[in-house]
Amino acid sequence: MSIGQIIFTLVVVVAFSIAAKNYKKVYRNINLGKDEDISGDEGQRWKNLLLIAFGQKKMFKRWIPAVLHLAIYVAFLFTQIELIEIFIDGFFGVHRFFAPYLGGLYTLIIGSIEVLSFLALIATVVFLARRNLLKVPRLVKSEMGGWPTIDANLILFGEIALVTGIFMMNGADVVLQQLDPEHYPSSGFLPISSINGPLLFGDLGLNALQLIERTGWWLHLITVLLFVNYLPISKHLHIFLAFPNIWYSKINSRGEMENMPDIMNEVKSMMGLVPEQEIDPNADFPEFGAKDVFDLSWKNIMDAYSCTECGRCTDVCPANITGKKLSPRKVMMDIRDRATEIGNNLDTGALKFISEEGRAANKTLSEDNYDDGKSLFDYITREELHACTTCNACVEACPVTINPLEPILKMRRYEVLTESAGPSDWLPMFTSIENGGAVWQVPDDRDKWAKEMQEDGTIN
């Protein structure tokens, strides 16, 4: 085994071990949410997966970013073939393992990757310009200040590094194929490197060329490994989570709010529709709705980790458009950040995060006794929650079928049902429905209009 192979193996193993730990954390954080059985309708789910995830159907509501994003996405998928070869070459100390076996097909594959990489490079540069020069409104809203903007730019620079690596290694390789055909099997004519390579590196010596080829190779590999580690702490995680997130997204009507069977059964027993339920006098007062991520479903939290902060939701939110504080994107970012905060605190095992009762009972820190004195309401203000018109524009807009409306409504439920709080304007509406069966307090009969019509003979 050569020294190169040993270094390669070490780097790869270490990188993947660290990454695995962080992916496990994301998985754990998603599972801080409540269990929710999401199954059935597999036909529809496959359709969604193919059209919305693989086919990026929802991206095409906006053509310019859709085409640019498609270039990066297809380049990403195709480059995996070259990445597999990089791994084989690295582990076994060979060079361009596939080339002799695939022949013309190899030229086609690598050639396609080159074209796609070039398109992805253009897309990346345009994306950088859209964020930093053109300042597309949805990309520079207030919640994007600080880390989210750095995060987005880091990813784009990472993509430039990936592409640069490919063109360095292929460009130098094409020249090396002429100088040392024994060690550098022919890749055939490559649409970019066969022109670029001789042009840029044509008059360099063997050693310099080998150095450039290896630098490109390692640059690409190291950037890939950095990406693998960066994803679980970045918005860019959508490249993986988009797929399960779309698979598990709501299939039933958008118009149906999740039913609350506990309340339904209690009301049924109050109305005498079912036998009176035994009330346990020792039971705690039940909590309804969501106060923290523990009360959301795991899917709500997966939604949050799938969000790549594109802001299409916020861009179409009527409340946000008219200057209210609500931003569906911020709601999702807040849920993710809160879940991450709780996860990180759980990892410390510190006693201060154990609830008082838990501490009294000498418990070790777990999500069941977690209490840091904070909640999701410290992230998402009531003003934001109250501004939502439930119009579903955010739900419609999301390319990866995130549902920002569900957590908003769950938090409203907590506020109204558990805290008996919420906008005081709503109280008369609640009382009118409860006492008079109408949203307003009105003395008239419901069929006053019909009686009037009968009187003047318009209807029978």
Binding site: M271, L417, W426, A450
Partner: protein, 254 residues
């Protein structure tokens, strides 16, 4: 409905009027217009009268599940007692809740919005629409969130406008991208949160850009919101916000 039941008869459809349609002066006109169309089309319909309660949509979306369950279960009791199968309503919020939320509580009905119902009547030849009145007039159509984006009904109302011979001018944000009027999610019953402008003003400005003199809507709350918007812009004399049923009544001279 009680009368039908007493006589052992079943109406062709139950007209679910809703709170706005029953009590709001503006929405009452829509209720009357739709009742006229039903009568003119020979539809034998019933109403629940005082046995109808709020479907609970605003309470549920405000977060008050208790009030929602109370009123919803009461309605379901009533509807099941009368063995109601088909319901038509002129309110997309009632429509959505009856159609999508009552099944989980034990109330499953065939629920249809009045724009769909009128379009079906038209296609069946039971309703005829003479276009003269609106021929060539610019009409824009406002998709309500709960009929459009939430329930995917975009074409039936547009087909009615076509039947009126009107010239449909779409707003920039229409169909799946339609902009809310600002009333949904129980916003109708509270003051706005602080912001730059009201949502209905934003939508009204978009309507004004189309140059249409008639706005067709399908929801009593949208009509209130957009009419308020027109008043704020002092355009209430020039641009009328109508329910589709009112336009049909006008065209037919009913």
């Amino acid at each position: 409905m009680a009368d039908y039941s007493a006589e052992g008869k079943t109406p062709e459809v139950l007209f679910w009027v809703g709170c706005a349609g029953s009590f709001d002066a503006r929405a009452q006109k829509v209720t009357k217009a739709f009742a006229k169309i039903l009568t003119a089309s020979g539809v034998d319909f019933a109403i629940l009268g005082n046995e109808e309660s709020c479907t609970g949509d605003p309470a549920r979306r405000a977060g008050n599940e208790f009030v929602f369950q109370m009123t919803a279960l009461q309605n379901i009791e009533m509807l099941n007692m009368y063995k109601v199968k088909d319901i038509v309503t002129a309110c997309p919020h009632c429509f959505n809740t009856l159609k999508n939320e009552y099944p989980a509580l034990g109330g499953t009905y065939n629920v249809i919005h009045h724009t769909q119902y009128m379009n079906d009547l038209l296609k069946a030849g039971r309703l005829t629409i003479e276009g003269g009145e609106f021929k060539g007039k610019k009409i824009t159509y406002h998709d309500s969130c709960y009929l459009g984006r939430v329930n995917g009904v975009y074409e039936a109302p547009r087909e009615l406008i076509a039947a009126l011979d009107g010239q449909l001018v779409e707003m920039k944000r229409c169909k799946t991208n339609g902009l809310c009027c600002g009333a949904g999610g129980a916003q109708m019953f509270k003051e706005d949160e602080p912001g730059d402008k009201r949502i209905n003003i934003e939508r009204t400005e978009e309507i004004l850009k189309t140059g249409a003199s008639i706005v067709a809507a399908n929801c009593p709350f949208c009509i209130t919101m957009l009419s308020d918007g027109m008043k704020a812009k002092e355009k209430q004399e020039d641009i009328m916000i109508h329910d589709l049923s009112e336009l049909i009544v006008q065209a037919k001279g009913l």
